[in-house]
């Protein structure tokens, strides 16, 4: 594996990148006869922005689904915070502090922004069903506490003015932001973003980039993102994994990846 120095270091712009927090070892994922991911290994360090890029069908989203526990790889190990992770359900992974957004927006269209973001706090609510139904005792105290957290996220992402608007009425760019808000509300240690900027115009992309950087900077959240816009990837990320046909063909700092011939051939386009 490349640059596996165990010590933490400080980036040029003053952020501290910590030790390896998640280590993917020799992951292979098959769907029947199709091998979506072939023997891939890479690691994610605490506090970094880690991008996964690759052409369509390269297996990027599958990789994210492996991390989030949605798929269980047939071969390979996932080490999280120094421990080997047993096969887990997505909700168990979520409880470990890993939150995600989806490529196709997966919000509750009929609910308000506030309610949608509140659902992000579900893993932090422990009151009994009866208490919840009567909204009494522990449930009430919990809601007030969680609402405060949610309001901080709303403030952070500057969506106060649409707090009470049903999500179905919002434009696409804002929906993406609400999805990010919901993921953030879970107080994640690792945030998985599946194409956070797909289909956005330049201004929306700039906004979203700023929010991603701010989240990383403000909360120290480790971010793993899939993105197609090369400019964005190169600007945002600390390290990039490049995938093609389920294989890893590059891994390293944006500049290294940019100059890697295999990557150029596979992704950035070169006449064959």
């Amino acid at each position: 594996m490349n640059d596996m120095s165990p010590e933490s270091y400080v980036t040029a712009d003053g952020r501290t990148i910590g030790n390896v927090v998640m280590d993917m070892r020799d992951i292979t994922l098959k769907f029947g006869g199709v091998t979506a991911i072939k023997d891939i290994s890479f690691d994610i360090r605490e506090g970094e922005i880690r991008a996964i890029i690759g052409p369509n069908g390269a297996g990027k989203s599958s990789m994210l689904n492996v991390i989030s526990g949605f798929y269980t790889p047939q071969i390979g190990e996932i080490w999280y915070r120094g421990k080997k992770r047993p096969p887990m359900k997505p909700y168990q992974v979520a409880r470990q502090g890993i939150a995600r957004t989806f490529q196709n927006i997966a919000l509750f269209e009929g609910m308000t922004v506030l309610d949608n973001v509140m659902t992000g706090r579900l893993t932090h609510m422990n009151a009994s069903v009866i208490s919840q139904a009567l909204w009494w005792g522990k449930a009430q105290a919990e809601e007030i506490e969680n609402r405060e957290k949610v309001e901080k996220v709303i403030d952070f992402l500057e969506i106060q003015n649409i707090r009470k608007t049903p999500v179905g009425r919002l434009p696409y760019g804002l929906k993406k932001r609400v999805e990010l808000a919901r993921a953030l509300a879970a107080d994640p240690q690792i945030l998985l973003l599946d194409e956070p900027m797909a289909g956005m115009n330049v201004e929306e992309k700039e906004d979203m980039s700023r929010f991603i950087l701010d989240v990383n900077d403000e909360f120290g959240t480790t971010i793993v993102l899939i993105e197609h816009d090369m400019g964005v990837v190169m600007d945002l990320s600390d390290r990039v994994v490049v995938m093609d046909y389920g294989k890893k063909i590059g891994d390293g700092a944006p500049d290294d990846v940019r100059n890697n011939q295999a990557v150029i051939d596979a992704y950035l386009g070169v006449s064959h």
Binding site: G14, E151, I154, F156, Q160, N161, D214, D217, E218
Partner: protein, 657 residues
Amino acid sequence: MTNGTTSGQLDTIPRLLARNADRYGSKAAYREKDYGIWQSWTWVEAQAETRALALGLLELGANPGDHIAIIGRNRPYLYWSMVAAQMVGAVPVPLYQDAVGEEIAYVLDHCSARFIIAADQEQVDKVLEVQDRLNGLDHMIYLDPRGMRKYDHGKLSPFADVQARGREHAGKHEATLRDRMAEQNGSTTCVMLYTSGTTGRPKGVVLSNDNIIETARHSSEFDKLRAGDEVLAYLPMAWVGDFIFSIGQAYWTAFCVNCPESSDTMMTDLREIGPTYYFAPPRIFETQLTNIMIRMEDAGSFKKWLFDRYMEVARRVGPAILDEKPVSFMDRLNYRLGEFFVYGPLKNALGFTRVRVGYTAGEAIGPEIFDFYRALGINLKQLYGQTEASVFITQQPDHEVRPDTVGVPSPGVEIKIADSGEVYYRSPGVFVEYYKNPESTASTKDAEGWVATGDAGFIEEDTGHLRIIDRAKDVGKMASGALFAPKYVENKLKFFPNILEAVVFGSGRETCAAFINIDLTAVGNWAERNNIAYASYQELSQHPDVISQIKANIEEVNRSVAADAMLSGCQIHRFLVLHKELDADDGELTRTRKVRRRIIEEKFDDLITALYDGSSSISTETEVTYEDGRKGLLKATLQVENAETVVTSTPKVEAAE
């Protein structure tokens, strides 16, 4: 507490704060919606916060006479900053938060600001960008720590830290603070405000404590403002009106200042607070009215019928009822029903249910707009003022409100009309001087204290009300000698929901012509309802149907203008719809959104030529400035249209030489 309360002198803002903390201690002084909840501070808490900051400023080494610039949207912390600055003997200088780097650099350099209190990263960045050109900048304080972690904190501190250091070192600075406050009196500078200026560089207007407090006292008594009143502070902090309302009057009467959550939530916050005292420039009332009309266009036929029917009743008798004039029983009954079905819910939706006194100023308001709000039973009044007067020159007393006058002289204000027609005033609120600009001070304020307003007007003999015709320098003569008053016509045009802004030309010419800006909200909505596709503002503005609607609007205005013998020369013969919205970033409007005629004339010189040379279209290129300061070029071909005018018997020509 301070010496102020013991000596009974209430001649500085810090002393008023001390009195309020004493007398109204547990009453709310400030509220701000934050994290979805209205957070509030009592007068005692506000005093503690302000003192902590003042002590912190002393720890940073603030000296009497220093200028402390404050940049940001309306937030309690920034209001405290202004008062804290006063406490340490410094002069607060609030700046427009949307000002671009260049404007900020000029002002900061002109006043040699030693400290800057900025709201957030955006404002800090703007200052950092121009810091090489600033002399005397010592330290910057920021409010919102977001994104600021990586900045070099040598000359940069978070607001909370400065307060904490103030509290920590309180013992060391208590005595200094007490002495500084004791030294101050009515003639000490209270604030310095930069006028946006329709021409030239901004000027720093120095206002003393007497200016502000006397004006606040008079105007509060005039409208019977009291502790327990609520205002929403959302207008730029750099504007004198906000200073008078949110500091002057608020500290004098001890009412509560509410700050919105963000500029986007202003309307929701307005509804939630339901202010009792409200102030807005005509633009806001226009926008709200446009929105109401758009929503009613989309409403069901029964609702629309109900609205139209009762608005007709309201327009007919509403203002009379508000002025307590005799109205027939049936009309009163009808108005009551209307209140129940339409006006009440509408006022509630607008957040105006509790408004006891509402003011509009800054620009003349269209009479139709003005009457609309009064018809609903909202006591909306006009005032006339300027920064140099600490706002108030004239205002309308209750029951004497008319759309065409700006009221009687405010208490303590004297008015005279010069031979040229220009309005002059003298009052306790008259500014001390323009900072570092004795020539301008001398040319504006004469030895006896009379100040030229730059507006032409006259006093109505029977009522004593002042009527403003136009800016003195804008009022001119047409080639025929007829009176040319562009603002008069522009205001009539702007009442149409489709028209956002109009600029009328004609001084020294045979006929009048106009530029029109369409209102994107209203016209866009119309386009949507009629399935008209458009890709840009520019394309929509040149759509033949849009132009023909504007043409109909102009012809209606022409008919109304023709009815006034003195002004019938101002009918618009030709017009074009501009391809871009006039914008303060491009210098075409002031930050308070007043048209800068001369700049527009220079910039669109080619378009004006086309208006007068008979051509039917014109291609043009315009430079535009984007929000981030970058510049771009806009190319367009504009239609020039003729409008029908009404032929009147030779317009009454004033005895011209």
